[in-house]
Subunit: 273 residues, 2 copies
Amino acid sequence: MVTLLGHRALGDRLKTCFIDNGLMRQDEPRRIQQIFADLGVRVEILDAQDKFFAALRGVTDPEEKRDKGITEVFGKLVRECGAKVLLQGTNYTDVEETVAGIKRQHNILAQLGIDTQEAYGYKVLEPIIQLRKPAVRAMGEALGLPQELYARPPFPGLALAARVIGEVTPERVALLRAATVVVEEELQGCPAFQYMAILHEDKVTGLRDGKRDFGHQIEIRCWDSTDAVTGSPTELPFEKLRTMADRITHEVPGVVSVTYSITPKPPSCIEAV
Amino acid sequence: MVTLLGHRALGDRLKTCFIDNGLMRQDEPRRIQQIFADLGVRVEILDAQDKFFAALRGVTDPEEKRDKGITEVFGKLVRECGAKVLLQGTNYTDVEETVAGIKRQHNILAQLGIDTQEAYGYKVLEPIIQLRKPAVRAMGEALGLPQELYARPPFPGLALAARVIGEVTPERVALLRAATVVVEEELQGCPAFQYMAILHEDKVTGLRDGKRDFGHQIEIRCWDSTDAVTGSPTELPFEKLRTMADRITHEVPGVVSVTYSITPKPPSCIEAV
């Protein structure tokens, strides 16, 4: 969204990078690059997977994941690019949640009294900071973005790291990524606001080929919501839940248990981390 | 069941103890004592809560919970009672799962080559070891046990310790016990084979009174099964799931998230531990 806004305003004076932090969904970096190429915007992919995983090593606290794992590495990368100004897609819900003390979104800095020029060496411009999700989507449509981009479910700034409980390692992200493929394929086109797979740190006793298999658990969440401020679990057909559980336990190695969240927000949050 | 069998065979020569290990459901020791008093059997309650919690301190591995936490403390208590023979309600599913290497049930000893006379100082008699659950229930009815006892959902030998992921402490068991009250009240009379609440060790981000609340998660499981060998998650009405989630997050302090298991056995097991 802000890429296209920036491109309209600045043309080729805008440099667009997609930072591959190793936490994105299956094939996402290439797919995004392709979509923008079709819109006449050249996107450079910056492979920073090792840097992010190094920063996330041993980190289990959600707030620390955001601070150490994401904000700091990201800030350093932007500075190394030589950028003077960063266009950032912060929206109003990010601001509200951070100010209310619910969770510190990785992109909220000025609102917490952080001077990015001083702290990171560049300025931040946030053209859509007054909009919540429905307005952001209306704007995407008006700008001529493909529906695939503006209508898709929200995806957190922490990316898949927001959906790994406990330590974020390449192996655990790969496992969650495979479960995410199943959930997104099965729920694509469903009218829910957002849906996701979450990898738990807890292990549970399972049974494979007649033998004990102490394995992983995946939690599925699917939300009815308009703005992410409040939400209800979607009443999915039971058959659909069973299909997702069967596919995940067969397609994702080591997963023996799948659950579905039945809690509204509040007291749950949309994401687990 | 075996208490009543023993009482028929031995009359007052049978000594009946209910070992309160601190892991039973709300009011269970008194309730059991009352039911047997009505049947003319005197049950002595032996308070061993401290001993069990001391043995379980710091133990997180499921198999170790069974060995150290339950089998050893239990064996010692029986010996201290001066018992020469223990009547044990082992059933055929316990044997099958242990022999298959799925999980070592706390009451399976002889089948693993353990001589209880040598190891614990008493003999074990297992009058219903050839029966699976449906036959056990038919026998309970034939013996004139109240339906409340023979028709109720199975409850694991590890008791609530089988439903606490991670360390079993008095505080964590109290929390799970409160969630169990809700699940059993709401699902009482439903034709499912078994239902339960499970306390996770993972914590998730929640929202309480507009502020971040990093809290507990409870998983609900409800099984369609005839013999616990295989099982399917019960297709409960969504409204019922929502009611349980709402009650648990309001009535059990610190719980911000409730999930429902949608995985069959296999690859899941009935219990999590």
